[in-house]
């Protein structure tokens, strides 16, 4: 299949940040303007891609003009586009924030190319249609994420991110062995073709199941699914603020996306209720444990990191519900709710981390108990934390409120009412940890004279949180339309 488009947004989403990374590497003096330029260009490519898919349905591109078996395919269906759009908007916000964040020119020069490479890896992951290409993208993502996370150079940051790097490598090797088994069994690497082969050939159930276990456990390690989350809190909490935002909101999400993708598309014929239930139990444990640890955290960024563990857990609760719900509107609702929660978390958590970073630079620390004055001095930032926090709790009108509503509805409808208890417990704990922070914002300290003090840093955080709260919660209808756009099979 040849692409007739002279400028295919599918390709540009990946090559533009790569080019940006190359140029910011080569011309470190101009890293900031070049980086912002690349960010804008990439983001517009992603938006164009979104518009294209919205108008014409799922896109598919086989690179090099070869047979789809032989070449690498890119694909953009509704699911991929939804996540890619979120990731690119969040990444743009992070870029604007980061352009003023780094005081040390050496760090700033190191940040931009790595950040753009990470961005390329994210887009590459969301749009990939090839199992091995996904592996390379995963590695690019893991390496850039760890390098960025260690950028502060503090002892904690370096050791936490070294651990993150190693764990990530372990995860990708496990994934790669799964790919090797699948290639041995089915002789192709294209997602769609392998999916067809799996569906057609039930004699190889054991092989497929082994590959599923290897790949999903590798990815669960990268997605920090309980109890494999141990590496996440220190790594995310010690990174520079824009990086923390990207790690928590996007990088982890990419692995979750991949699990969902494999679970629903590739291995759909062999994933049973029992396996889904197992993952969901881990997710439930993550919700409770992550929220509890967030509540006990002493530092703001650590709190946010543990909250990520919990929020990732929610996404896995959907699997057993999807397993028992036949195709139709109820299943569409579940899938949309799953994606909606992922998107809301992406926006909210990035907003939260950006705001937390600003609090940290302003106060010189991020110990929650001593933040009162700072929180009061920065009303817009505190407001952003409040908005993001209410999205994390799942209060209306945030997207996660709708997500939780549909999750509970699905749970009751399919008789798995116990997930309702998990959701409510998680929400209660989340309100406790969010308001533990917010209650510091009301003190007797002197009052600010204006709402916004540092626009370049505060406005992105505020906007990202606003999207999570208002836009996704009140106008999530288009997501259903988007998710209905599925890619056809292999070719």
């Amino acid at each position: 299949m040849y692409s007739n488009l002279l400028t295919d947004p599918l390709v540009l989403c990946i090559t533009l940040p790569l080019l940006g990374a190359a140029l910011t590497t080569a011309l470190p003096r101009h890293a900031v303007p070049l980086g912002i330029l690349a960010a804008l260009a990439t983001c517009s490519a992603a938006v164009t891609l979104g518009v294209d898919v919205w108008q014409h349905g799922a896109l598919r591109l086989v690179l090099g003009g070869w047979e789809p078996e032989l070449a690498i395919g890119l694909r953009a269906d509704g699911l991929a586009v939804a996540l890619a759009l979120m990731a690119n908007l969040v990444a743009l916000g992070i870029s604007v924030y980061a352009s003023g964040y780094f005081r040390d020119p050496e760090r700033m020069r190191a940040f931009w190319p790595l950040w753009l490479l990470l961005w390329a890896a994210l887009n590459g992951l969301f749009l990939a249609g090839d199992l091995f290409n996904l592996y390379v993208m995963l590695e690019l993502l893991g390496i850039t994420a760890a390098a960025l996370g260690a950028l502060t150079g503090s002892r904690e940051a370096v050791s936490a991110n070294l651990r993150y790097l190693l764990v990530g490598l372990l995860g990708s090797i496990s994934y790669l062995l799964g790919v090797a088994l699948l290639y041995t069994a089915h002789g192709t690497l294209d997602l769609g073709l392998v999916a067809r082969a799996i569906a057609a050939n039930d004699r190889l159930f054991a092989v497929d199941a082994a590959a599923l276990v290897l790949m999903v456990s590798g990815l669960a390690l990268k997605a920090a699914l309980f109890p494999l989350h141990f590496w996440l809190p220190p790594a995310h909490a010690n990174a520079p603020a824009p990086v923390s935002a990207a790690l928590s909101a996007l990088v982890v999400k990419a692995s979750v996306y991949l699990i969902i993708r494999l679970w629903l598309d590739l291995f759909a014929p062999i994933t049973g209720l029992a396996a889904a239930m197992f993952l969901a139990l881990l997710g439930a444990a993550a919700v409770v444990w992550g929220s509890w640890r967030a509540l006990r955290a002493e530092r703001l960024k650590l709190l946010a990191a543990y909250s990520t563990v919990a929020q990732i857990g929610y996404l896995f609760l959907f699997l057993p519900l999807l397993a028992v719900t036949p195709p139709g509107p109820p299943r569409d609702n579940l899938l949309a709710a799953l994606v909606l929660m992922a998107l809301t978390h992406g926006f909210a958590k990035s907003g939260f981390f950006l705001a937390a970073g600003l609090v940290q630079t302003n106060a010189g620390h991020d110990r929650i108990d001593d933040l009162g004055g700072t929180a009061q001095r920065l009303p817009a930032t505190t407001f952003a934390i409040a908005l993001a926090g209410s999205a994390l709790i799942g209060l209306p009108p945030s997207g996660s409120f709708i997500g939780k509503w549909l999750l509970m509805q699905g749970a009751i409808e399919s008789g798995q009412w116990w997930w309702v208890i998990v959701v409510t417990t998680g929400s209660l704990l989340a309100s406790a940890y969010v308001f533990r922070v917010l209650s510091r914002a009301f003190g007797l300290e002197p009052t600010p004279l204006k709402f916004v003090t540092d626009a370049r840093a505060e406005v992105p955080a505020l906007l990202l949180s606003l999207v999570a709260v208002a836009l996704l919660g009140l106008a999530s209808g288009p997501l259903w339309t988007l998710l209905a756009l599925r890619a056809g099979g292999g070719a």
Binding site: E139, V158, L162, L165, L166, L177, T184
Partner: protein, 94 residues
Amino acid sequence: MTAQFLYGGAGLILFVLGLWSFLVHAPLLRKLIALNIMGGGVFHVLIAVAYRGDGVTPDPVPHALVLTGIVVAVSATALALVLGARLQDEQRQG
């Protein structure tokens, strides 16, 4: 088929051994070596898959995958080593 299975099977055993070593040993260097052994094991499996019998040109695709995989492994190892060295430097100074 037997040669293929033995070669690939050896790769799987390497994978498991590497995993064991990774989980059991704490020092960074041993963990890194373990990861590389695991990676080597997976590459073995892929190389074995490429084999199509004596005198027949092997499947080039797994070969290419392995080459790519090696570069990726080298990159990750290098970064991990430098991060580890950085920690060691600080330990020495502090």
